[in-house]
Symmetry: C2
Subunit: 294 residues, 2 copies
């Protein structure tokens, strides 16, 4: 048996003494000016290939800079899709580079579909021969168990994982996730219970996305889901502090920051990569000490 | 003001006297043997480029065959993602070809994310200069209004639409969508109410996916959402008949069939395109007469 995703992630957290997940959310206009200029000169202006190449080089730079301080990187598929097929081709290179630097890669794609379509998503991201071969994929549970199991089956067979959305950190999460059910619990707690059931079927392959903006929900979520690996968004730019999320910093939990790291402003003589490395190191230290696992 | 998606779709339905949506779900092993052989000979075997080219030629053939009988085609992104970046590049050509044949294109991607990430998905599929410039996108509402509005804003500005998942046709839909709420309604009915609210904010840009396997739910869904454009999956291979879905065949409703059309078996001397054209025509006639709009 290969190690499970949860085992691999736990070992990486202990080895690096870090819970940092760096979100790879490239936006062309926010990339370092010197990087864009060099590429536009070579490409004869801003075009789809120039944007793709800038994403490739920028994300490689981010990966190089954060590798000592982060355990995972999380490419947000939407930003690559917005830049077209060439950017998605660049993403295959970015993912392979991150894995060569011993970073676990979480594809933040929030996919969710049924049956053979779910199998196709698994084939795209979670198998040994996937074009975008990641260590984990984020997924949306609204379609229920038969949308989630095909992903988990492929993930488990390859030592990979699936993070299910449980309670997200955006204001609109109240629209459905916080709806009160007949038994007086909230919908997201029902989702957490299902996630916990799926984790029993596929041990070590299931994680959960739990918004870091509501500390009480982290405690409730932990109570329902036990020590499942959590992916906490909302740190930094979205406002959550280390103290807010302290209750959930056990087991294989990782905490994501995107803009706060990848668009960190250089100070003094720093290069853009220096600034990114510093931001990742500060976040790692802010989240430490990493509590020992139960 | 450009015409809205709902207006454009209604006009196409009346013009063609058809409610047929053809799902473009290519799977390499199920493509016509003669098509695969020709491409493998040219490519020196089955590789990523050969698969992408076969998807491109197959889907163009499907589009050519169904154009007289269908109003929309619905590429399922998962199957293109499973085949890698070259297949996604082929999809840009497939979409443009469908639009040139006056078919509306619904990207079945079931995306759902928040804020600037949702804007990136809108930029990928729903804008004038999108790399995959479609007429509509399917989306998952679990993250709530602030995940949906950025999609709808871009869609509405370009005369395009967004279909929100409300009640899907898979067995696992009971896990969350059929959960009973404190007010004794079901979660999917709550979702339908939200979809109806969003449609008031963005008139003509909002549609709903409503599983065609439960006739009573189509009646309930119509009662909550009125004459919003419905996308009904589940016809044919998934088991729903024209009689099952008759109550929802008003307004701008379209009915999807994927495998039942694109993998229709040739009879006698038919080519694979002849078989597909016949299947699309039979489905169109099975759903007729199209009831007049309210």
């Amino acid at each position: 048996m290969p190690k499970t995703f949860q085992q691999r992630l736990s070992e990486a957290i202990e080895k690096k003494n870090s819970r940092v997940c760096v979100g790879l959310d490239p936006r062309y206009e926010q990339l370092p000016v010197e990087l864009r200029q060099k590429i536009e000169e070579a490409a004869g202006g801003k075009n789809a290939l120039a944007v793709a190449e800038s994403y490739r080089l920028f994300c490689r730079g981010v990966i190089e800079a954060v590798a000592p301080y982060a355990v995972t990187v999380k490419p947000q598929l939407a930003f690559f899709e917005a830049a077209g097929p060439a950017a998605l081709a660049a993403l295959t290179d970015i993912i392979a580079f991150a894995r060569s630097r011993e970073l676990l890669v979480i594809a933040d794609a929030k996919r969710g579909d049924i049956g053979s379509t779910a199998e196709a998503y698994a084939a795209a991201y979670l198998a040994e021969d996937s074009p975008w071969r990641c260590d984990a994929l984020t997924a949306n549970p609204y379609l229920g168990g038969d949308s989630v199991r095909p992903l988990l089956k492929t993930a488990a067979a390859n030592g990979n994982g699936v993070y299910l959305l449980v309670r997200t950190s955006n204001p609109g999460a109240i629209d459905l996730q916080d709806v009160t059910l007949a038994d007086e619990t909230l919908l997201w707690q029902k989702t957490a219970g299902l996630v916990s059931d799926w984790a029993e079927e596929f041990p070590g392959a299931v994680g959960a996305v739990l918004g870091a903006t509501y500390p009480a929900e982290l405690v409730d979520g932990r109570a329902i889901m036990g020590e499942l690996p959590l992916l906490l968004p909302g740190y930094g730019a979205q406002g959550a502090t280390a103290a807010d999320i302290a209750p959930a910093l056990t087991g294989a939990t990782v905490v994501n920051s995107s803009r706060g790291i990848i668009f960190a402003q250089p100070e003094g003589e720093e290069s853009w990569m220096d600034a990114i490395a510093r931001a990742a190191r500060l976040m790692r230290d802010d989240l430490n000490p990493v509590p020992s696992r139960n």
